[in-house]
């Protein structure tokens, strides 16, 4: 009699295999449209932040105009252009290129896409190179500007330094001052670390003082070569930070909004659009929806989903490059096996989120890049990113709204009021039925 140990039987089982999901654009309703075309005009950056995920930021290569034209033409060829399209110049410091480059680039893209959609441009910049000439270009083309700045000097200069190790804060302040002098509104994004948690008020005051209308908090993430988040083990500090930002940003007279809190309010106020894929109905999430974000590197290599994946080495998925705009169409590349492997894992992760997360209806499946770098699996579920960017801000805003609603109801039920029950309609004091202030 042969005795087989059950553990040996278990050990012989093959590892889980992700079923390959063939990509067919006809499976999606509404039809796939690109929201952001993220172009890397150059990988070069003139500074050297210690948490940067870009591996080749010393390269001074630049995207040829012919390549960006091809990137745009490929969108048209696959009918990926909807009513609106934003081009984001990103992934490197765009302003290390001459102003004339952007004049030509914008002209080129408008030649290809201008008649087909409302085309707008965004530049994310460290602001160290902004001068009058750049401001003139920004105004001429109504370019939306985001400045990367981490708050007060000590927080900023701890990480955002030159290659010789000097802080860049003073130069960023000059750049923002130049924008203000030209009447250019801008938003900011800040990498937030535990050190920021300890200075929530100083952080908020800085953006108020700089006239920043909206600040996005990029909570330090593990991504690419930046393999570990400094926030690990500091999540209680995160909750307190969010609470303080909420208190500050909704106070009378406050001008600066916090992107994560504003997004939470938006999600509470109205449901996300639904995206159908085969028999699934998922809340729309542009990081898991194929080609909602199209990411093109300076050499024409392209990817989709989380933009920070493009070019990052991975044992399971290569470098996330699905093709090159010089030779491949987006949809044609998506029918290849390397796209299918990524798409299959993202589908698996989205289904797992749907089954396991109470917040799925307000998210639609998280951020694939964070799943990969935090959990080692594109098909995994919750990440620190989910908790810091979505869940805690959502909880904080919802709880605050509930407190405010209770206060309104109590006011409505105060002695002397008609006894018809405290309804929220009674709270509609600031506005007339037309929606105008009464």
């Amino acid at each position: 009699m042969v005795v087989t140990a059950p553990v040996r039987w278990l050990a012989r089982r093959p590892p889980p295999v992700t079923p390959v999901q063939a990509f067919d654009p006809a499976d999606f309703a509404p039809a796939l449209k690109t929201r952001l075309l993220i172009l890397q005009p150059t990988p070069f950056c003139n500074i050297d932040c210690d948490y940067c995920y870009l591996p080749d930021r010393q390269s001074t290569a630049r995207m040829p105009l012919a390549t960006m034209r091809r990137a745009a033409e490929r969108l048209l060829a696959d009918d990926l252009v909807g009513a609106q399209l934003t081009v984001v110049w990103h992934a490197g410091e765009p302003l290390t290129l001459p102003v004339s480059y952007f004049e030509s680039a914008i002209t080129t893209l408008h030649e290809v896409l201008g008649a087909r959609c409302e085309l707008s441009h965004s530049i994310q910049t460290n602001a160290t190179l902004i001068d009058d000439e750049w401001c003139a270009l920004i105004k001429r083309h109504h370019i939306r500007i985001g400045v990367s700045v981490d708050g007060p000097a000590d927080l900023h200069d701890a990480h955002r330094r030159t290659r010789s190790g000097r802080g860049t804060h003073a130069r960023v302040l000059r750049g923002m001052a130049c924008l203000r002098e030209h009447g250019i509104e801008f938003h900011a994004i800040a990498v937030v670390t535990p050190a920021t948690f300890a200075q929530a008020d100083a952080f908020f005051d800085f953006f108020e003082a700089q006239g920043v209308l909206e600040v996005g908090c990029n909570f330090d993430e593990a991504e690419g070569p930046h393999t570990c988040s400094s926030l690990t083990g500091h999540e209680a500090g995160h909750a307190a930070f969010i609470a303080q930002l909420l208190a500050r940003s909704r106070a009378p007279g406050a001008r600066t909004r916090v992107r994560e809190l504003a997004m939470a309010l938006h999600l509470i106020a109205a449901p996300l659009p639904v995206q159908r894929w085969q028999s699934q109905r998922w809340p729309e999430n542009v990081q898991t929806l194929p080609f909602a974000l199209v990411n093109v590197a300076h050499n024409g290599d392209f990817s989709s989903f989380s933009p920070e994946l493009l070019g990052q080495p991975s044992d399971a998925y290569g470098d996330f490059v699905f093709g090159n705009v010089e030779r491949d169409g987006y949809f044609a590349a998506a029918r290849e096996e390397r796209f299918a492997r990524v798409w299959s894992a993202i589908v698996r992760g989205t289904r797992a989120c749907e089954a396991s997360c109470a917040y799925f209806g307000y998210c639609g499946g998280g951020a694939p890049a964070n799943k990969l770098y935090e959990n080692g699996d594109l098909g995994s579920t919750e990440t620190l990113y989910c908790r810091t960017v979505l869940k805690r801000p959502f909880d904080a805003v919802l709880a605050q709204l509930e407190r405010d609603m209770s206060a309104l109801a109590l006011r409505a039920a105060a002695p002397g009021r008609p006894k018809q029950g405290p309804t929220l309609l009674e709270g509609r004091l600031p506005y007339s039925a037309s929606g105008e202030p009464s």
Binding site: L213, A358, L424, G427, Y431
Partner: protein, 97 residues
Amino acid sequence: MTSTTTRGSALRLLLRKLTVAIAAAGLLGAAAQAQAHVERDRSTLQARVETMRDAIAQALPEGMSDGRFAQWFNWGNWNNWNNWPNWGNWGNWLNHR
């Protein structure tokens, strides 16, 4: 001797199978419990959000932006929602460091 060995092996096999079965049942039970927790949390959160959306629908004239909703709650200057492109929850993707 042979018979004793065979009986011993069979017993060990039975015990192993039982151990695996109990472990599997435990895992399944834990998974079911975890799923029940998720469903409870999902329902609770959804009910809270729906209550808030109902409040919006009651309180604000049709078509009023959620920016007005924020103003109605006297939330500072959270009123420029209309400038936001409809990019969904992750849409304002500018993850630059």
